[in-house]
Amino acid sequence: MPTSSDRFDVEIANLSKLYHVGSRDNERYATLRGEISRAMRTLGGLIGRDEAARKAGEFWALKDVSFQVKRGERIGLLGHNGAGKSTLLKILSRITAPTHGRIGLRGRVASLLEVGTGFHGELTGRENIFLNGALLGMNRVEIRRAFDQIVAFAEVEKFLDTPVKRYSTGMYTRLAFAVAAHLEAEILLIDEVLAVGDVAFQEKCLGRISEMSASGRTIFFVSHNMSAIAQVCDRGLLLERGRLSFDGKIHDAISRYLESTRSAGISREAFAGRPLAPVEIRLRSEGGERLAIGKPFEAEVELEARQDMSFQMAFLVSDVMGSELHWLYPFERDLTLRKGEKKRYRFALDSLDLFPGSYWGGLWLGKGGWMDEFLYDRQLYRFNVEDNPAVKYFPNFRTASVKVHKDFRFTEL
């Protein structure tokens, strides 16, 4: 281990984190009755079986991860859902403790793990700035010093004394990001903050992140948007099933990641413990699985509920870099599933409006309210769209803004 005057801001050695999933912690918290009945079973001589069941439910979210980071390095964390990116950030930010291993941190750590955590709708914008700042570890003097910058960045001057429950989603997001983005810290952890907001705001956030990294901060960045990662980071760490499988230049890491995703289907492990999870996704066009521009398109999604659920669903199309292109979202439809029930749903388009190339199919499952999500995964299923001689288009004309389609048919099967 390097000692005094070394330049490492972050040292991670043999870091592991064990979670218990499956039967016992399916309910995520215990009840007295459960504990008592387990104690009875143990007394009844079934120790061996219970132990085996516990072992089967063990899940290493991180396993023997070691790396070191110098001051000012900008690290992009890559990996599939369930690969351990978020767990790593949670341990770095001290929200959860590692099972094994050791972490050395030099400097203050600030996390932008979820924009708007701790915001309260009844409080005004001004009150929320102070509360949120305090939650993120700032004191009053620091918050006051950054206050004007935060307000200017969020563009909410006129609404400072309005309860944030009356804010638009855009205003809310801007304010929340602004507080976190003006933290005084040397190590910044950023997880998917760009998932919300419009394109202009995302640009602004990326700009702010670049600005912060230019002033010498160490940055850890998680995003499904590869172009954002490429823009911000200089070094990439690729996690696969909790292990560090690549550590190097960001562009190499991104291509390694994209390669590894080529054949990825849906892994059940990634959704272990979720109340509602996809079992299968199948994409079809007329008479086969080959998809082409201008041809009919069908996406069949099979869901399984692990408890009684009421939810809404959207099918997402993203480009290879992870930027969202389309949402097929029947937002007038509230769907329900009983515990243990499986059901298939079909999204159908008369004409697929995607240029030839490679894309990601994804899913959003939620309750309608924003941040009320059970699942939001843009990269569940990779597919290709082929050329179609019947369709004439200008090949150079491409758009990257999100479209919400309304002219598709949605069927519960």
């Binding site: 930010s93 929200i95 959860t96 400097g107 996390s111 979820e114 570890g137 600005e211």
Partner: protein, 284 residues
């Protein structure tokens, strides 16, 4: 400006922070100091939210103890005919209510403090002790309101004799410590066992009658007094009555017993909470 600020913060925090499995306890006091303002901010948030959209507002803090005092006056004075002391009964009962309202408010709020802030616990780091502790601060405000009411009633009854008021800070400290201790126990237990949510209101209902709020300990038969003093609230309430009315407790040893139980609850609650703390984010 930007870089200048950064230089200052880096200079301040050059030391290496080492985290490993089960080592976080050593950092507690440093973390508590760093997040000391959050305690006030969270309490301030809860005060702001507490009486928002309640038409009667802070008036509830006054109305609740007054109503209970009236009910007590009716039950214990007229029906059961408790002979309290030389002090007018409503004043006597309100003194008990002062403590009870604070204690029960703290216990009910603290038990829910972690679970009702799940998004904070799973998404931001700060010493979790702050959550149950801030509910104590919030209830202290209600306590102050009731205390003013008590002073008013005392004047109304023509200023009966006063006890050793100088001891009041000590008794207040006792009350805070007890509320914190029980709060630590219940808040961390609720994270693991949601059953606590059902037990707490039930326990509080019993507690109001099991504690000497509407009656003095001296009204109990001699052989029950030891058991009564195992309830930390017994000694605490008698302590308050001693401060305010100068009435000596039924059994001085009993008061020490109550104090001992309170200290035990505070220390064990703290230890239990710290033991559970690392797993909060994973199991909440």
């Amino acid at each position: 400006m930007e870089s200048e600020r950064l230089d200052k913060t880096t200079a301040r925090s050059e030391s290496l922070l080492v985290l490993s499995a089960g080592r976080s306890s050593a950092l507690l006091w440093k973390d508590l100091w760093r997040f000391r303002e959050l305690l006030a901010f969270l309490a301030w948030r809860d005060v702001l939210l507490r009486y928002k959209q309640a038409a009667f507002g802070i008036g509830w803090a006054l109305l609740r103890p007054v109503l209970t005092m009236l009910v007590f006056t009716l039950i214990f004075r007229r029906v059961v005919e408790v002979e309290a002391s030389s002090v007018p009964y409503p004043l006597f009962a309100l003194c008990g209510m002062l403590v009870w309202q604070f204690f029960s408010g703290c216990v009910a709020d603290a038990a829910q403090s972690l679970v009702s802030n799940t998004s904070l616990v799973t998404k931001v780091f700060f010493p979790r002790l702050i959550l149950p502790a801030s509910t104590t601060l919030v209830n202290l405000l209600d306590f102050a309101v009731t205390l003013a009411l008590f002073a008013g009633l005392w004047l109304f009854y023509g200023t009966p004799s006063l006890g050793p008021l100088w001891a009041l800070p000590g008794v207040l400290l006792w009350m805070l410590g007890l509320a914190l201790g029980v709060g630590f126990w219940l808040s961390s237990a609720t994270v693991r066992y949601r059953d606590v949510k059902f037990l707490v209101p039930f326990g509080l209902q019993l507690g109001l009658y099991a504690s000497p709020i509407g009656y003095p300990i001296s009204a109990l038969p001699e052989k029950f007094r030891f058991w009564a003093y195992l309830n930390p609230l017994s000694g605490l309430v008698e302590g308050f009555r001693w401060c305010f009315f100068g009435s000596s407790p039924a059994d001085a040893h009993g008061v020490w017993l109550s104090l001992g139980v309170s200290v035990f609850l505070l220390l064990s609650g703290f230890v239990f909470f710290r033991k559970m703390e690392d797993s909060f984010a994973d199991i909440i």
